[in-house]
Symmetry: C2
Subunit: 229 residues, 2 copies
């Protein structure tokens, strides 16, 4: 189960468009004509219709296989495009993500360890973010575990709680099959048998999570698989 | 400067496709034909070519204005689509995001307050995430502040550091013009004159950040604007 490989660079552009179902189709057709592949599209703001102008939307898009000038020129030629400006691809700004899910008290302690460790690696040129959500209940946590597979740039999940099992354990198995490893705190429930590493101290769990995805660290999760600390 | 309004619900689908520039164009054209608007597209995994099969990609897409069954049927009919499955839109799982950027020690303390407070609101039906990155240097922090405008579901930024000014202050002004409020720790530099609220204690800053975006709280950032605690 390898970590996700690094991917080719993308060009990032903020585009303000007329908001209609046809707009995304026109954008992507235009990008494809120029040999680009749309990798990311986020609708970051809706603009209400104003003084007869139709409703608009601000989109952040990332495209692979085309250079900045060609992309801007291609998009500017579309009638539904109101303006464009180059931005920075989010992976260059926020980098790889460690996701922490579970109970508030433990999530906060894992975040403490992970943020402190990410600081040390980011000082040496890494870009690692620590993203968290405190949740309660088997359904909400299992849904979050499954959804980590859908989060861009998510590289590792830390499950921080006191008891997890049932559907959370099934979701953990699915997530690992998607290539995202999991570190869990030592806790009650079946979850600890389905993760890559079990760590009792939440601050250390956060620290190890960041070490596992940092190119600037020598920690190899493969060699730690199945261990408990 | 209103907070971002709530937006119509979307249908979320995981799609495995042949990876070519034409694929996104074919998907969006098909979605538009059925009256849907593509709101989000993330490339969550690349699949190498295998045994003569072309390279593939796993995409997570969110579409507005079309129901689940119609979207799946429309996509399944495309030759470049290998498989589809319904997922949950990320805003239903991870909800609104507080972003915390700055020095490691302070980011960790803001996260402690924010995660603890988010826990209390998420128990009552909210969905609030706390996403962090420790960074050093004016350029890196200014780029992160600008990029918060591009992050889906970002609702509020906390700047956690000991000195920030120059281009970070300009970036803060731009971000607030995009409708995203900012809370800063009390610190050296010009940043504290360009934010909505200044808070000396990092745990309280994190707590107030979550209260400001929680529908389950009564804290109104509008009424606190310009204050220092």
């Amino acid at each position: 189960m390898p970590l996700r490989p690094s991917v080719p660079p993308t060009v990032a552009v903020r585009v303000v468009v007329d908001d209609s179902p046809e707009t995304a189709a026109a954008l992507t057709a235009r990008i494809a004509e120029h040999g680009g592949s749309l990798r990311t599209l986020s609708t970051v703001r809706r603009l209400p219709s104003d003084d007869g102008a139709p409703a608009g939307a601000e989109l952040e898009i990332e495209v692979e296989g085309i250079d900045e000038a060609a992309l801007i020129a291609a998009l500017e030629a579309l009638p539904s495009v109101r303006s464009t400006r180059l931005t920075r691809a989010l992976d260059r700004v926020f980098g790889k993500r460690v996701i922490v899910v579970g109970g508030g008290a433990q999530v906060a302690q894992v975040a403490l360890g992970a943020v402190s460790e990410a600081d040390r690696h980011n000082l040496r040129g890494e870009k690692i973010s620590v993203d968290t959500i405190p949740l309660v209940g088997e359904d909400a946590i299992a849904a979050a575990v499954r959804a980590v597979a859908d989060l861009p740039r998510a590289r590792l999940l830390v499950l921080a709680g006191s008891i997890m099992g049932g559907d959370i354990t099934r979701a953990a198995r699915e997530l690992r099959e998607h290539g995202i490893p999991i570190i869990a705190l030592n806790m009650a429930g079946s979850i600890t048998s389905e993760v890559d590493l079990v760590v009792s101290d939440p601050v250390q769990a956060g620290t190890m999570a960041v070490m596992a995805i940092a190119d600037t660290a020598t920690f190899d999760l493969e060699r730690q698989r199945g261990r408990r600390y």
